[in-house]
Subunit: 393 residues, 2 copies
């Protein structure tokens, strides 16, 4: 439904400190241009095109240190409670069509188990019939049973964030990059425009104070800390550091997603990305460190190593050189992920934490329910009733 007014001119982008910034007020500030913030900004422009909006991002687009860029990008109905299944289905349709090319690809998800159970078939048959199980990856004696989800899909969350932000700008949102935001507790935000010195230090070039009626805090794993530190709002949300080691066993566009022993193997760039389970929050003050495997230092943290060792018999490729465990933490890509309510399976949510201030959290299920949660918040801010997934079967 196009708005009745003439289309807005595109928004302005402040990418570096050479561009003067003189604004003092917006209707809405969205802090963080990961996939949650960027898609919320896009939906806000669609629902409320008359409200001025500034999207603020500490890094580039997408942020190289953020969770969006490393998120597995696996849409799956597994683990989604019944009451949010329709919402997940709506999100899947949006991912497929609404955000341009984000490498969306339907793939089966083969969930492998040692024991039989509901909807499980012998995994050996899958190998023979549909080539769904690569014998180089899976020991079908150890994981003799499998259920297959045919509706799973993969996509690139970083591309989603980029495309959503660009669409938001075309729809009139303003974007400020390389800018750190601090909530002031009085409806205003301090923006610190960052620059890099000759000696590669990141420093604050200038600060601005900007007011807004509505502020969306979409800072990922840093969101709960921001509302706690800046606003004094205590929450039980937490975070966990997750690493994604590469497994150099060949995959194709037709390769299925595999799940076993809590691990997900996601076909990517001709190999696999290993997605470890999140078992629980990491404590405040934890600094990720590499672990040791029988005395040899690795770039994988100890807890993830233990998970991989436990799965090696069933997934023998994990016990070979095909697994890139690295020698130091920087060798294995990793990021902090938000855990809504502090739970390892917390679902995406938004909540009002102060007058006009909304916290928007993605977390472990952001691949499947993140976009709809951002949509829901945008609709709520714009005063729009009804949600499209409520009409779905």
């Amino acid at each position: 439904m196009p708005p009745a007014e003439p289309p807005n001119p595109p928004g302005q982008v402040w990418a570096h400190t050479g561009q003067p910034f003189t604004h003092r007020e917006f209707d809405t500030l969205v802090l963080g241009a990961g996939r949650m913030g960027a898609s919320c900004a896009l939906y806000l422009r669609q629902f409320a095109p008359t409200l001025s909006l500034l999207l603020v991002e500490e890094g580039g687009l997408p942020n190289e240190d953020g969770a969006t860029l490393l998120a597995p990008g696996v849409w799956s109905g597994l683990g989604v409670p019944a009451e949010r299944q329709r919402e997940a289905g709506w999100t899947r349709a949006q991912l497929e069509t609404a955000f341009g090319d984000i490498s969306f690809q339907t793939r089966p998800l083969v969930d492998l188990h040692a024991a039989p159970g509901a909807n499980r078939v012998p995994s050996r048959d899958l190998d023979l019939d549909a080539a769904l199980v690569d014998p180089a990856l899976v020991d079908t004696d150890a994981l003799a049973w499998a259920s297959v989800g045919t509706l799973a899909a993969t996509y690139r969350p970083g591309a989603l964030a980029l495309n959503a932000a660009q669409a938001a700008i075309r729809a009139g949102a303003h974007l400020m990059l390389n800018t750190r935001a601090q909530l002031c507790g009085d409806g205003s935000v301090t923006l610190e425009r960052l620059t890099v010195t000759n000696t590669h230090q990141i420093v604050v070039h200038e600060t601005h104070r900007v007011r807004a009626r509505t502020i969306v805090v979409a800072l990922g794993a840093g969101g709960p800390h921001a509302i706690d530190h800046d606003l004094g709002v205590h929450s039980a949300h937490a975070r966990a550091y997750r690493q994604f080691p590469r497994l150099n066993t060949s995959s194709t566009d037709a390769s299925p997603l595999l799940r076993a022993h809590g691990l997900t193997l996601r076909p990517q760039n001709g190999g696999y990305t290993v997605v470890p389970a999140i078992h629980h929050r990491d404590p405040a003050g934890y600094v990720p460190v590499g672990g040791k495997l029988t005395g040899v230092p690795t770039g994988l943290r100890r807890e993830t190593l233990e998970d991989l060792v436990a799965a090696m018999d069933a997934l023998p490729a994990l016990g070979t050189d095909a697994l890139e465990t690295g020698r130091s933490l920087s060798d294995v890509p990793g990021a902090w992920f938000a855990l809504p309510h502090g739970k390892p399976d917390g679902l995406p949510l938004h909540e009002q934490v102060a007058p006009g201030v909304h916290l928007l959290l993605g977390g472990p299920h952001a691949d499947t329910l993140g976009v709809s949660t951002a949509f829901d918040l945008a609709a709520r801010i714009a005063g729009v009733e009804g949600r499209p997934w409520e009409e779905l079967e």
Copy 2:
């Protein structure tokens, strides 16, 4: 059943580096003189009085940095699986009579809940009838239901370790204090005798290499790391850092133990010690840090603060100055506890991790099942069949 031989002379104690140590071999080494190691040493002397035994402790007796000294000392059948209930009952009887004065005291444990359930009575009635619920501590509107365990008891685990070690020495065990042990992987152990310099640094004064046919690793939370680091034996055991803030609300010898919201309030020294729940392991490399409560630094870690805040409505005393949260980590007593199998409710266990090397782990249920687990290991090493709790009803 006294042994047929004449009683052994008492063992020797090496407390400081001024005492020469020339031994090169023992039948058994027990590393760690916390309650697990000390009671295992005592039982070994009783089962196998002809086997020479050296008990090695890195600190004093008991170690001021160890988990034994800070363990809550709460015997309770709650959380003990059915198949180990008889063993827990046997342990209770030992605690009551076999270790001298360890301040053993039977107390009711009042388990408080918001909702009714099996064996629960209105907690308000407990207040009126038996003065089991102190209204200054518990909001009986919020925690309207309670079940009462009449067999719970409190004792001092530090006194248990001390008395068990002294009894072991009287029975012929040798003890070496202020000595760090490192497993060498060939049935020998390097002993580093520690001393303190004029500038209060702890340094190694001299090292000895000692052989033993049997080695018991009873190093508490450090045990799994020792077998991993020294022997290359990978295990899934983990550890968690637990703090015990003091609550200055008056208690007497007759005050019950209170449990609510996952917290246990243990009457101690005229007030209460707050025993927080262990939710999960702490990651390898975690260094405990104090948290912040709406910006104010505290000595309690963030996760424990969150638990206390969640319980403040039901236990209003936690929201007052009666709770000592401290300003820095050192203000609130805390220690690392082992988590057998990495689980927050892991039960005490022993396992052979290499030829002649046994890992002995206490953990969260060591108050209730630690002594019997140490007994079981000593009996196994001595080749003794049958366990006394198997004969109990």
